[in-house]
């Protein structure tokens, strides 16, 4: 991006800022519309509406909060202008129609790209996971299952073998069985895993450091109005897609669902920059990002409706009806695109699509509720342990060696995962196996029931049959797998590679419960379906960790197709949320937001303390007085000094220092740019020029230099509260309107200011947390 305004040498620092703080995707260009005061500034300005009075006015700096009201009013202005112009000619009418449809076009593009990327990711993960064990000789791009697709082996025992697929030991030494081959396979498995994860973390570190982690906490913060430049950029998109495949294939205990939401939001940001309606308005952009998040979950789980609900419940801050429709459309297009790529070869969207038809009994509600309780407890444990570990990583020496950390965790995971066949394969396959009912000839050990060969009915009545030795063998292996997975996920989530946690949370290990409940059933009655318990257990665990309710249930039954099981799923989800909330109100994402100190004002928190606005406002008793500008007696030099000496984001403008009656509020960035521009462009503006915010210039003697009018950048309608307003109301105003700051007055005179950071710090203080942990503005 080139800055086209030529700059004198010493102000070239500003161009560095503009370049740096605007990533490749945020071209800082002429904006349409400005503050609501624009309309009142004289009729002549309506003709050149598109010419921004000052360049770059109206953009935000990195790590700052947007002004929702200003964005909304700018959009209304733009829309009104287009509507009024559309009556002039056919061409204008067409332009107005295109503007109206641009939203849907953006959704379509987002759905297409998200679906394609998800398909690519699925296919690549499938292949690379099997690459750790062997390679297909006829066509190297086939995974194990694809390679043996056309095998003619008919015997049941040999169905996984085919001559084209060879394990590494067999390829290198010619021996397929034996201790030596096992060790060599083991060694190569670990080596491949280390190679993949090392490549992933190096790419992240060199090209896009923002691509690490899950992404959902940061996206929640961005959607609430925070600016993180580069977080949704092109390089982040590319690197996240590429390294997600590597991270999942290396066998680490992480999922791809959270990062897919990040990928979808990056796609949303990419397509936003094509249309000025979205690229120049941060508020509208966030509508698109909400819908993109829905598309991300839709392709991650094959659950379009669950995706929309997830975006509503977990990710978005404001979710008007228009966003609901747009999310629906984006999720639909994404699911359709993924379906057309058909990554799993069976026209399903997700690996673990299962179909049950066995009913459940009313008495089984008790075990379902118990599963919910366990899920809630597990969720609490996981959140506490993971946050403790992440805090340690953040504050101690451990955080200085991210690459070593990734390699160490991968090494441990691979070394411990290979011997146990349940952890050797990817978690998705494991879940698929555990969710599945044992049909005819399932090769899994879990289905090793003693079959009566003389049976004439289809092999469906599992509870009737005594468990063969394979089942008991499987049980203790599963238990070990469970313990291992719990421990390793705590250390894996939060590392410097893309990592999600939906899949690890869904570990369906409640299969073993059926042994306990087996005695509750009479022989001959079909009562316990282990796969169902696995599914309900998975839902309970995921609910305990993320505290999702409605969206979780919808995702689970869209995932598995089990519409008969909505009630058990709801029971388990609600119970797990109650149990987990008893120990701590925050889910994993809110906990990470708190850990990083993002300025996120949660809509769910209730503020019930009886403090007033005076208790929170600044300046406090010992602070210096409030930094204000006067309406017509400050000079340019004074303003510059004020900006240099302080780091406030904005300044109130009062009539005069004696009367202190409030006129309006001006942002620091707008002031900086306006003065810089005035010095370059306007003649006669020097350091002793007076800055005025009124409509008419003040009466000055002729010897004074030309005054500078800055009324355009003044916001004439700042939000004010009186000093006796209860903080409950103030917090509500901040939340509902998305304010950045609020001025406090008494009898019309300006007393102080409350910013969002002050509100967050006050809330943290009231909840006995460390108020200094709120880091950003």
């Amino acid at each position: 991006m080139n800055v086209t305004v030529s700059q004198p040498d010493c102000l070239s620092g500003e161009s560095v800022i503009s370049d740096l703080s605007a990533a490749l995707l945020h071209p800082v260009s002429i904006h349409v519309g400005s503050t609501p005061t624009e309309e009142m500034n004289g009729a002549g300005n309506l003709m050149d509406f598109l010419d921004e009075p000052f360049p770059d006015v109206g953009t935000y700096e990195d790590f700052h909060t947007i002004d929702w009201l200003r964005e909304k009013s700018r959009d209304t202005d733009r829309h009104r202008k287009i509507t009024s112009k559309s009556k002039e000619s056919i061409w204008e009418l067409i332009k107005s129609l295109l503007d109206a449809w641009s939203g849907w076009v953006v959704m379509l593009l987002i759905g297409l790209l998200s679906g394609t990327l998800a398909g690519v990711i699925d296919l690549a993960v499938d292949w690379m996971t099997d690459l750790k064990e062997g390679v297909c000789l006829s066509a190297f791009w086939y995974s194990h299952e694809q390679c043996c697709w056309t095998s003619n082996e008919t015997t049941f025992d040999d169905r996984d073998k085919c001559p084209q697929w060879q394990k590494w030991a067999e390829l290198m030494t010619g021996h397929a069985e034996g201790g030596g081959a096992y060790v060599l396979n083991y060694f190569l498995y670990v080596l491949w895993a280390l190679l993949f994860s090392f490549l992933a973390v190096s790419l992240v570190r060199v090209f896009a450091p923002y691509a690490c982690g899950s992404g959902i906490p940061e996206i929640k913060t961005i959607l609430s109005g925070f600016i993180i430049r580069g977080y949704l950029g092109k390089w982040t998109l590319l690197i996240k897609t590429v390294t997600l495949v590597l991270a999942v294939s290396s066998g680490l205990s992480l999922g791809k669902e959270g990062p897919l939401v990040h990928v979808a939001c990056c796609c949303g940001n990419l397509f936003c920059s094509l249309f000025s309606k979205y690229s120049k308005n941060e508020g509208k952009r966030r509508e698109v990002l909400s819908a993109a998040a829905a598309a991300g979950v839709s392709v991650a789980f094959g659950a379009p409706i669950g995706g929309v609900l997830f975006s509503l419940e977990e990710v978005s801050y404001y979710f008007p009806l228009k966003t609901l429709w747009r999310s629906f459309f984006a999720a639909l297009v994404a699911a359709f695109t993924l379906r057309s790529i058909n990554p799993f070869g069976n026209s399903r969207l997700v690996l673990f699509y299962v179909e049950y038809h066995t009913p459940w009994y009313m008495a089984e509600l008790v075990p379902f509720i118990l599963l919910g309780v366990f899920g809630g407890l597990w969720g609490t444990l996981f959140i506490r342990a993971n946050i403790a570990w992440c805090r340690r990583r953040k504050t101690t020496q451990l955080g200085k060696y991210p690459v070593l950390e990734v390699i160490a965790v991968t090494g441990i995971t691979a070394v411990l995962a290979y011997p146990n066949p349940y952890t050797r394969r990817s978690t998705s396959e494991l879940i698929s196996e555990l969710f599945n009912d044992c049909g005819a000839l399932e090769s899994s050990q879990l289905c090793d029931y003693i079959n009566n060969p003389n049976m004439s009915r289809p092999v469906d009545d599992i509870p009737d049959r005594p468990a063969g030795p394979g089942v008991y063998n499987a049980l203790w292996q599963l238990a070990l797998a469970l313990v291992f997975k719990i421990v390793i996920t705590i250390f894996t989530f939060g590392m410097k590679i893309p990592s999600g946690l939906f899949i690890p949370s869904m570990m369906a290990y409640h299969h073993h419960d059926w042994i306990i409940f087996k005695n509750w059933c009479r022989p001959g009655a079909d009562c316990v379906t282990p796969g169902l318990y696995a599914m309900v257990g998975a839902a309970a665990c995921l609910g305990g960790v993320t505290r999702m309710t409605v969206s979780l249930v919808v995702i689970m039954f869209e995932l598995t197709g089990g519409l008969e099981y909505i009630v058990p799923l709801m029971a388990a989800a609600v119970t797990s949320k109650w149990v987990a909330d008893a120990f701590g109100k925050e889910g994993i994402y809110e906990s990470h937001i708190q850990l990083n100190g993002y300025p996120y004002l949660d809509v769910r928190d209730e503020f019930t303390h009886r403090t007033l606005a005076t208790d929170v406002m600044r300046p406090r008793r010992n602070d210096p007085t409030l930094a204000v500008l006067t309406q017509d007696s400050t000079t340019v030099e004074d303003v510059e000094t004020l900006i240099k000496d302080t780091d406030y984001n904005g300044f109130p403008v009062v009539v005069s220092r004696e009367s202190e009656r409030l006129i309006g509020f001006v942002q620091r960035r707008d002031l900086t740019l306006a003065i810089k521009n005035a010095r370059q462009k306007q003649d006669g503006v020097v350091s002793s020029s007076v800055v005025y915010f009124t409509e008419d210039a003040p009466q000055l003697p002729a010897s004074n230099p030309q005054p500078l009018k800055l009324r355009r950048i003044l916001n004439l309608s700042p939000f004010t509260v009186t000093d006796h307003t209860p903080m409950e109301t103030v917090v509500d105003i901040f939340r509902k309107l998305g304010l950045r700051q609020c001025l406090v007055t008494r009898s019309g005179r300006l007393l102080g200011i409350i910013t969002k950071k002050d509100v967050l710090r006050h809330m943290a203080q009231m909840m006995n947390q460390d108020p200094e942990s709120i880091m950003f503005n």
Binding site: D19, V120, A139, T154, A208, I341, N342, G345, T395, P453
Partner: protein, 194 residues
């Protein structure tokens, strides 16, 4: 500015073309003969062990009678045997898989080469450029008021000429600074992403 928007259009156009290419590969190719199959799983029956049968038949022929060949049971038992068998129709697109994996590997290879270039070759061939200073502290980079001395040498892009190579180099320098800043935020100061 307009070049930024133009850059976005180019990138988005390339993405859409790649997308359509992938879908086209899937749709336009006639189904490879080997890409469809009907898989019938027949459990043990009396004294016959379990078997799996694969055949490349179309979806309407995907049932026990067409696929299970040779039939292991005599004629009167066929119906009973076939009731136990489960037949499933599956299809895949081998071209999609091939194209996807090859594209993915080439992207990873390109990134790997670029990374090696940036880490090893770039510092050697570039002599220390006085115009590309490392980014100083964020706080003191917001100087706006009149400064009598030059803060740093002029980097006005227009003054350097607009040849493509120089613009690319300028863009690359800016990108490197951005990534460096991101790296400091995430890895060093641990301000974000724990």
């Amino acid at each position: 500015m307009s070049s930024g928007r133009g850059g976005s259009w180019t990138f988005a156009g390339a993405v859409v073309v790649a997308l359509l290419l992938l879908d086209f590969v899937d749709f336009a190719q006639t189904k490879n003969f080997e890409d469809v199959r009907c898989k019938c799983i027949c459990p043990p029956y009396r004294n016959i062990s379990g078997h799996i049968y694969n055949r490349n038949v179309s979806q309407k022929d995907c049932n026990c009678l067409h696929v299970v060949e040779p039939m292991p049971v005599p004629g009167h038992d066929v119906e009973a045997y076939c009731l136990l068998c489960e037949c499933k129709y599956e299809e895949r697109s081998s071209n999609t898989i091939k194209v996807t994996i090859i594209i993915y590997l080439s992207v990873v290879g390109a990134l790997l080469l670029y990374m090696l270039f940036l880490l090893l070759v770039d510092p050697l061939i570039r002599k220390h450029d006085p115009y590309t200073q490392p980014l100083h502290n964020e706080e003191d980079s917001e100087f706006l008021y009149v400064c009598v001395q030059e803060m740093r040498p002029p980097v006005d892009p227009q003054a350097r000429g607009n040849t493509v190579l120089e613009r690319v180099e300028g863009a690359q320098q800016r990108w490197k600074k951005q990534v460096q800043e991101q790296r400091k935020t995430v890895f060093d100061r641990h301000k974000m992403l724990s």
